[in-house]
């Protein structure tokens, strides 16, 4: 029985971790390059979900292809449109105190919360065609949706691999890394930091809205989902260390698993778990799990 529980909790945790990772990835990626902790990332998650549901309804979701196209199309569209808007807004605050920049994104988050409600209303949205099309499989007498069991974690890993490849093996990717390490030197070397920042922002925003789009078939979209997701992904990002991509993957996995084990063993702790992990990690490793400590600049 214990072995069974171990396996089941593992499977439950993985799907949740996949989702969490994608959202946190966007956040940490943006931070790494532009050094802004984007609170409006929660809005991207919510809008991505809503857009995917709307597009899914509109396309009718007759085939698996159509459903997937809705998910991906929505996240790209939302990522590009909202990402550009946010970037244009933040550009006006480029040389300000990082705290002020963070608050600008907080203001943007509040605005998006209301816009979202004006566009999509308050009734829960839900389009689940893609889940039904993918079917279910059974593990130890427990039925799982293939979508949650295989597709979401698979998508998370694929995107992680793609991003790693992009960063290490393409010119733009290397330029992004260079800007992450030292913006001034990179600019001096002739890298167009503005373009890199814009690109990063769009990619990060797309990841956020993809997280929402992937969540939309299994969760109800209601006002306020962005606020909860953003604190949780903050927890992932801070625990992993800001800007750490592989770290975010492991931390998301850790939090996802801890959460599902709690449901089996001690449900009361489920909600508080991510924050407890974060506090414990930061107490031991102040810069996050995966950050190499940097020398202070005088």
């Amino acid at each position: 029985m214990t072995r069974d529980i171990l396996i089941l909790a593992l499977l439950d945790g993985v799907s949740y971790a996949g989702l969490l990772f994608l959202v946190a990835l966007g956040l940490t990626f943006i931070f790494g390059v532009v050094r802004i902790l984007n609170v409006a990332h929660g809005s991207l998650y919510a809008c991505g979900g809503y857009a995917a549901a709307t597009l899914g309804l509109w396309l009718g979701g007759g085939t698996l292809g159509a459903s997937l196209a809705a998910l991906i199309g929505a996240s790209i569209a939302v990522g590009v449109v909202l990402g550009t808007l946010l970037m244009l807004l933040l550009r006006r605050f480029q040389d300000r105190d990082p705290i002020l920049q963070l608050l600008v994104t907080f203001g943007a988050f509040m605005i998006f919360e209301d816009l979202q409600r004006m566009i999509w209303g308050t009734q829960p949205y839900f389009v689940a065609d893609v889940v039904n099309q993918m079917g279910t499989s059974e593990v130890l007498g427990v039925v799982y949706m293939n979508y949650q069991l295989l597709f979401v974690p698979g998508a998370a890993i694929a995107i992680f691999a793609l991003l790693q490849w992009f960063l290490k093996h393409t010119l733009t990717g290397r330029q992004i890394i260079a800007v992450t390490h030292d913006r001034e030197v990179a600019t001096a070397m002739g890298i167009n930091a503005k373009r890199i920042a814009y690109l990063t922002f769009i990619v990060g925003a797309m990841l956020g809205s993809l997280g929402g789009a992937l969540a939309s078939p299994t969760t109800s979209l209601v006002p306020g989902i962005g606020a909860d997701m953003i604190v949780l992904s903050f927890a992932v990002v801070a625990t992993a260390g800001l800007g750490q991509i592989s770290g975010a993957l492991l931390t998301a996995l850790m939090i996802g698993l801890a959460r599902s084990f709690c449901v089996y063993l001690y449900p009361e702790l489920e909600v508080v778990m991510p924050y407890v992990i974060m506090v414990l990690v930061l107490l031991v490793r102040p810069q996050g799990l995966f950050t190499v400590a940097q020398a202070r600049r005088i």
């Binding site: 069974d4 529980i5 089941l8 909790a9 499977l11 439950d12 945790g13 799907s15 949740y16 989702l19 209301d114 409600r117 209303g121 308050t122 009734q123 829960p124 839900f126 689940a128 889940v131 039904n132 279910t136 007498g141 427990v142 039925v143 799982y144 949706m145 949650q148 969540a215 299994t218 969760t219 109800s220 979209l221 209601v222 006002p223 306020g224 989902i225 909860d228 997701m229 959460r259 599902s260 449901v263 089996y264 449900p267 009361e268 489920e270 909600v271």
Partner: protein
């Protein structure tokens, strides 16, 4: 900005002075009757708040078209409960003290009812708790101005146990998945107390309280699939209920366990074909748009048609509760005007609510004279498919009369719950179509 505020403030000052001047003869007929209504227009509970607001507008428009109450037009002032407890309190006071609302309808959230009831009492304004459930907001406080023209959590949950034992008496294990907040905890407390008393052999195999607004219930669903309880109870609502039921349905949990959703009526239309047949559903009252006794009733039928036309959806329980409270308002004013021989003072209005019997869209409700608690019957049914609707509707509808399942006036709920016995099961009766 400050200048505008200042101008506004001075206008307000002039306005309230003029009101104060006439305030001496309080029984003068006002130019219009202002009614403050708190409802969720933002946040997750707006699934209830927004339809209810639409219903209130419809009701008041048609009331005003008929000349209002004794010739006085009614003007609603809506307050968003989603702004948070402290802002709500400020806004509530502003509407009573600045706008001079004579009657307040507050609120949907039990937490807000707890906050606002003593304030209404302090401000000496009649407050109708139009949708919140907790019995603690009213019980034992001896309020003079606060009434609840609908059932409370005790009525709803004790009735829910009675119905379950009536239609499905032979189950051995039960699991609960409720939202982790006051309603989820309180409703399960009442349910468990009564259930274990009437059926001591039943085993509670899991008590899960996922976070309010949780996006994912996969671990909960897996755990329930391992445990295979005979009955899965959830008093959740809104997006949480939808998410949980969909994930459970997608993974076949609804086929292996009997689901019981005492607030399910509010999600039926949204859930479409997700629910299988045979799921037990409650409605927080005796109202349902296909309620067999009233489906052909003129008032009810017209309302359902108009509401569907206006909002595109069928009415859910919060809509019925809103109409019920507004009908209570109309009835109380008529009663008070008759008694006072003119427009009533706030005190006369409060007196009129005591012992008031009125009808909303379904059966009539009585407000108990002792404590201001309404006695509202409870409706339950089982999902079934119907060719005319794209979602599940209810069959084998049963009614639980309110009196035997409600704490008697003056008694303390936890003590009274210990005295509940099997006779409540016999009180559950099929709703006879008229």
């Amino acid at each position: 900005m400050f200048r505008r505020v200042a101008i506004r403030a001075s206008l307000l000052a002039a306005f309230s002075c003029s009101l104060l001047a006439t305030g001496a003869q309080a029984a003068d007929k006002p130019a219009e009757l202002k009614v403050g209504i708190t409802t969720f227009m933002s946040g997750s509970a707006s699934v209830f708040g927004v339809p209810a607001k639409a219903a209130a507008e419809m009701y008041i428009d048609s009331l005003n078209a008929k000349g209002g109450i004794d010739g006085v037009k009614v003007r609603p002032i809506f307050i968003d409960e989603g702004v948070g407890g402290d802002r709500l309190l400020s806004e509530y006071r502003r509407v009573v003290q600045e706008e001079r609302a004579e009657l307040m309808l507050a609120s949907i959230s039990s937490g807000n009812c707890n906050t606002l009831a003593p304030v209404a009492e302090d401000l000496k304004v009649v407050n109708l708790m139009w949708d919140c459930g907790t019995e603690k907001a009213l019980e034992g406080h001896g309020y003079k101005y606060v009434f609840r023209p609908q059932a409370n959590a005790v009525t709803e949950m004790v009735a829910a146990v009675a119905y379950l034992l009536k239609v499905n008496p032979d189950f051995k294990t039960i699991a609960v998945v409720n939202q982790d907040y006051a309603w989820g905890r309180d409703s399960w407390d009442i349910f468990r107390t009564v259930l274990t008393q009437l059926k001591p052999d039943v085993k509670v195999v899991a008590e899960l309280f996922p976070k309010f607004g949780a996006p994912d219930f996969s671990a909960e669903v897996s755990r329930l699939q391992v445990l295979r309880p005979d009955v899965v109870l959830s008093t959740s609502w809104g997006g949480d209920l939808d998410t949980f039921v969909r994930q459970a349905s997608q993974r076949g949990l609804l086929r292996t366990s009997k689901f019981y959703l005492p607030l399910g009526e509010s999600s039926l239309e949204r859930l479409g074909q997700t629910l299988p047949d045979g799921v037990l559903i409650g409605a927080r009252g005796d109202h349902y748009f296909l309620e067999p006794r009233y489906v052909n009733d003129e008032k009810h039928k017209t309302f359902v048609a108009n509401f569907k036309e206006k909002t595109g959806s069928y009415p859910i329980y919060s809509v019925y509760h809103m109409i019920q409270s507004l009908d209570a308002m109309t009835a109380a004013y008529e009663k008070a005007i008759k008694a006072a021989g003119g427009w009533p003072t706030e005190e006369q209005l409060a007196d009129a609510f005591r012992g008031l019997e009125f009808r909303g869209l379904t059966s009539s409700v009585t407000i108990r004279p002792e404590d201001g608690q309404g006695l509202e019957d409870q409706l339950f049914g089982m999902t079934t498919s119907h060719p005319d609707y794209k979602f599940k509707v209810l069959k084998d509808v049963m009614i639980v009369p309110a009196a035997p399942v409600t704490t008697p006036p003056g008694q303390h709920t936890p003590d009274w719950l210990k005295t509940v016995n099997a006779s409540i099961i016999d009180a559950v009766q099929p709703a006879q179509a008229q």
